[in-house]
């Protein structure tokens, strides 16, 4: 019988209340009857009873839910303005949250679109200073030959390959070794994959098209397979097309086999770490074990070639972790803040709904008086808020669909997997779950107030007044919560704006304004010798210096923000390398005017001039970082340092100190930089910088014309304003500042509405008291102060809570800013907090002013008579 009673709990309480005892009676009678029919009969009865209950219980619950929903709908329609306001506020906030969640979902949560993606790893070498570098060709060969923990290892080099004249000048190619597609487990959409030969052997002249390129250039014609791709180095046969969903970090058009020269693979090339290496873990292998194995292989290979292995090693990291590294914190932060906005919105709606709480409760009291049980009413109130939340979540999906595209367009460009962002089942599930949680939260407070005794009390005047006071307390508590969340958002907004402004003002070590840059890649067939390259550079500089408005023009083979790096080693003649130093520097081959053109300051000594270069004048310019690190407190000018260049490994005299430049990005830590005369290290890849003074509109075209005058056959060259490159780097920070600003503003607006609403409500409750005060001679100023002081109390509580939360938040933010020497940005310093408090106070005073003034106009006689 106890079991049966427990089973009855499946039924709605109402049903149990009504029929519970009867059900037990019947079951008892049935049991008595079944006792005569033996075990089979008893078992049959249980089976029948259980199946009956399982059938009936959900149906009964559903029918109550249906009734409640209809009732809730009717309630909402009776107060259309309130309902529409509540649903829209929630829909907008939840929509924004859903949109941000769909970004988090696509970038972080959703598995990568490859078979068994968790087995794909990225392999890097560990440099002496602990930093991570790419892999050298001889190391790749050693890893491929010996690694047992990896089923496949492959390398990739992204390159722009010149095409034969007549078509597009360049094609973005990924050169890959054998095994690359096995790592990703990809199958071709048409034709076949590359048949790359083992490393070190001649490679077939084949090309594999990406789906994008195939659609663009061949209009998706399957007959493209078998045609020739006219690469400048020799035509390649198109053997296949990759599937549409094979999208990698590198935005390539074609994949071709990667060929190594014998020279590239010799042991001396262990320093040439330029290969992107990926692998697929063997069945049962873990990244940690693979890392240990590869480190051992790497140490042996280095030792066999006579290299020291100290401090070096190998990193094996899951591809997914590599892709989202650096974005995880940002995205979760973004999600956290939008959730705060949602919280503010929910508190706001809750407060809105409480406006009607008193009248609403009278209705409930009447229903209770007519015999509805407390549980039934509890369920009813909860259903109402769930219906509200469900409607809001439907609206939210619409809002999310609307804002998703503009949001994605404004996301930082470096974010991976942007093309995968969309509304999938996870996003829908999120919206549904959020609606459920929101609905429950919104409903719990009013539902908890449903108790029969309380409700009956409401039918009296005194009871109603007590309830109004309780409701006023609830609204103040909500207001405090809302203010706390708003405060945190304000602090975040102010911090992000400070950070953006600090980065915008940050000293980059060069000055990007009014500088046009042109990247030139000289075709190796026509510029085969250093002399050819030298002549080209000289003529180009002559032509560009003659451009109208040009104040300086120079060449750097490795310009800042050029998205490439050239690390070259250096040594001291007279002392060993300090422990833990990488001993390689960003290498620049420049002409003497390039410092002026890029705006790199010469802090000591001089820039290069015509004397420099060649075997007689071996000179070098180092940056401030090196000068301070290796010659602290003295001038290194005149000292010598060993540097590798195209002409060999020679000691060079330091003739100048240049300002340290941020080479790769705005928040990158400073590092060693070396400059040698362009004449000593000519290159096929050059970046021309032209600083102009006025005539901005025509400058890029003039630069293009100058290039054409030097070599008309060069074709398209990418020409940029350097300030635009900087703006692109600033974009993510600008985006975060704008986003946080928008969130903070939204929260502030909602708080304003809420503060105003609560104050108005409290004033209306205290009308009688105000009347008495005025009758007894209180001045309008005194009444105003009274109301405002009263209204500010929950706000003060909120601010205190907010300060505590903001200090915690700023700790999290500081992590994000590691390595950035921008003072005060990222910490919730007293100034930031004070600013946020000030903004909030102004808004709060504004919001309470109107109801406070209204309180002073209360007519004592009317107020007293009303009560």
């Amino acid at each position: 019988m106890r079991v049966y009673r427990a089973l009855l709990r499946l039924l709605p309480l109402e049903f149990r209340d009504r029929f519970g005892r009867d059900l037990e009676d019947v079951f008892r009678a049935q049991q008595r009857e079944a006792a005569d029919t033996g075990t089979a009969g008893r078992l049959g009865l249980w089976l029948e009873t259980l199946s009956g209950l399982l059938l009936v219980a959900p149906r009964e619950h559903l029918s109550i839910l249906r009734q409640d929903t209809v009732l809730a709908w009717r309630m909402m329609r009776r107060r259309p303005a309130l309902s529409i306001a509540a649903v829209s506020i929630l829909a907008i906030a939840l929509g924004a949250t859903t949109a941000v969640f769909s970004v988090v979902n696509a970038v972080i949560l959703r598995p990568l679109p490859y078979p068994a993606p968790e087995r794909i790893v990225v392999i890097n070498e560990r440099d002496r200073d602990g930093s991570s570098t790419n892999v050298s060709p001889p190391m790749l060969r050693a890893l491929r030959a010996e690694a047992r923990q990896l089923a496949h290892v492959a390398a990739l080099v992204s390159n722009s390959l010149p095409m034969q004249p007549g078509g597009a000048p360049l094609v973005d190619a990924s050169e890959v070794t054998a095994g690359y597609f096995e790592v990703y487990g990809v199958q071709p959409a048409h034709g076949r994959l590359l048949r790359a030969a083992p490393i070190g052997q001649p490679q077939p002249d084949e090309a594999l098209l990406t789906h994008d390129y195939w659609t663009r250039q061949y209009a998706g014609d399957p007959r493209a397979v078998g045609q020739r791709l006219a690469l400048a180095r020799g035509p390649a046969v198109i053997v296949g097309v990759l599937p549409r969903d094979f999208r990698r970090r590198e935005s390539s058009d074609v994949y071709v086999p990667l060929a190594f020269t014998a020279d590239a693979l010799r042991a001396g090339m262990f320093g040439a770490t330029y290969l992107d290496v990926v692998g697929r873990l063997a069945p049962g292998a873990e990244p940690a074990a693979a890392q240990a194995e590869l480190a051992a292989i790497a140490a042996r290979a280095r030792a066999a070639a006579g290299f020291k292995a100290e401090g070096r090693g190998v990193f094996v990291t899951r591809l997914h972790d590599v892709l989202i590294a650096g974005h995880r914190t940002t995205l979760w932060l973004m999600f956290g803040t939008v959730t705060l906005v949602l919280l503010v919105a929910a508190a706001n709606v809750s407060s809105l709904l409480l406006v009607n709480a008193v009248t609403r409760e009278e209705e409930l009291a009447i229903r209770a008086a007519l015999g509805a049980s407390a549980v039934r009413l509890f369920r009813q109130v909860l259903t109402e808020s769930l219906v509200l939340a469900s409607l809001a979540s439907l609206g939210a999906l619409g809002v999310a669909a609307l804002v998703l595209r503009p949001l994605v367009a404004r996301l930082p460009p470096g974010l991976p997997r942007l093309n995968e962002i969309g509304l999938d089942w996870r996003v829908l599930a999120f919206a549904a779950a959020a609606a459920l949680v929101l609905g429950t939260l919104l409903g719990l407070a009013p539902a908890a107030r449903v108790s029969a005794r309380r409700l009956f009390r409401l039918l009296t005047t005194a009871g109603r007044q007590a309830s109004s006071r309780e409701s006023a307390f609830a609204r103040r508590a909500l207001l405090a919560l809302e203010v706390a969340a708003t405060f945190v958002l304000l602090v975040a907004g102010v911090l992000m704006t400070q950070r953006f402004l600090a980065l915008q003002r940050a000293d980059l070590g060069f000055s990007p304004d009014n500088v046009v840059t042109a990247f030139v890649s000289l075709p190796p067939d026509r510029y085969a010798t250093p002399e050819h390259q030298r002549v080209f550079a000289r003529r180009l500089l002559e032509e560009t210096r003659a451009i109208h408005g040009a104040t300086a023009a120079g060449i750097d083979c490795n310009p800042p923000l050029g998205f490439m790096t050239m690390w070259f080693g250096y040594q001291f003649e007279d002392r060993p390398a300090p422990k833990g130093d990488r001993m390689s520097a960003q290498f620049h081959c420049v002409d003497g005017r390039s410092f002026a053109a890029f705006g790199t300051r010469i802090l000591d000594g001089r820039a290069f001039d015509e004397r420099d270069g060649g075997d007689t004048h071996r000179v070098v310019i180092i940056n401030e970082w090196m000068a301070k690190r290796y010659w602290p407190g003295q001038s290194p000018v005149g000292r010598r340092i060993m540097v590798i260049t195209g002409s060999g490994y020679h000691p060079r005299e330091i003739v100048g100190i240049a300002s340290s430049r941020r080479h790769q990005g705005l928040v990158e830590p400073e590092t060693a930089e070396l400059y040698v005369p362009l004449a000593d290290h000519p290159s096929n890849n050059l970046t021309l910088a032209v600083r102009v003074d006025g005539a901005r509109d025509t400058a890029p075209a003039r630069v293009r014309e100058a290039l054409a005058r030097v070599d008309p056959a060069l074709g398209v060259v990418s020409i940029n304003w350097m300030s635009e490159d900087v703006a692109a780097l600033l974009a993510p920070y600008r985006f975060q500042a704008l986003l946080m600003g928008a969130f903070a503003l939204t929260a502030l607006l909602l708080s304003l509405v809420c503060i105003h609403g609560v104050t108005t409500y409290v004033v209306s409750l205290r009308k009688r008291e105000m009347g008495v005060r005025i009758a007894l001679g209180a001045s309008p100023g005194r009444v105003t102060r009274l109301v405002i002081a009263d209204a500010l109390r929950p706000i003060a509580v909120g601010v205190v809570l907010g300060i505590a939360a903001a200090v915690g938040l700023s700790r999290a933010l500081r992590l994000d800013l590691a390595g950035l020497n921008v003072a005060t940005a990222g910490t919730a310093d007293p100034l930031t907090l004070a600013l946020a408090v000030a903004i909030l106070l102004v808004v709060a005073l504004g919001a309470t002013w109107i109801p406070a003034r209204r309180a002073t106009r209360v007519d004592p006689l009317t107020a007293l008579r009303q009560a």
């Binding site: 039924l11 049903f15 009504r18 029929f19 005892r21 009867d22 059900l23 009676d25 019947v26 079951f27 009678a29 049935q30 029948e48 009873t49 199946s51 009956g52 209950l53 059938l55 009936v56 219980a57 149906r59 009964e60």
Partner: protein, 120 residues
């Protein structure tokens, strides 16, 4: 009170129909209804207690039956038991359902879908 139309309730679920039929010849309590249905249908329709009370609730809500205080034989009965009585509306619905089934059977017969007499 306006006369209610039985039509929207048709066809009745077998359980509802049999409960109405069980009450047609007199008021019964829950367990009696259960036994009556089982006996009349020779065990073909078996209601569990849960199903029975879900049906009774529905019939009560639709005014097809009502709870009654009259005890057929107070001496024999447990006082706690609730008895159910068919209302005139309930009777109308049961009749309407019977007619509906008869019409259906007539239609089927016209198409030679007769039940073959059982061979002895």
């Amino acid at each position: 009170m306006a006369k209610r139309d039985p039509e929207p309730f048709l066809p009745l679920s077998p359980a509802m129909f049999h409960v109405l039929v069980a009450l047609a010849d007199g008021d019964k309590h829950g367990y009696a209804i259960l036994k009556d249905v089982k006996r009349r249908t020779e065990g073909a329709v078996r209601l569990s207690a849960g199903t029975l009370y879900a049906v009774l609730k529905r019939l009560l809500d639709e005014d097809m039956i009502l709870e009654t205080d009259e005890r057929p034989d107070p001496a024999l009965d447990d006082e706690r038991r609730r008895y159910y009585q068919l209302t005139s509306f309930g009777r109308q619905v049961a009749i309407a359902e019977t007619e509906r089934m008869e019409r259906a059977i007539a239609l089927a017969r016209a198409k030679q879908l007769t039940v073959r007499p059982r061979s002895a």
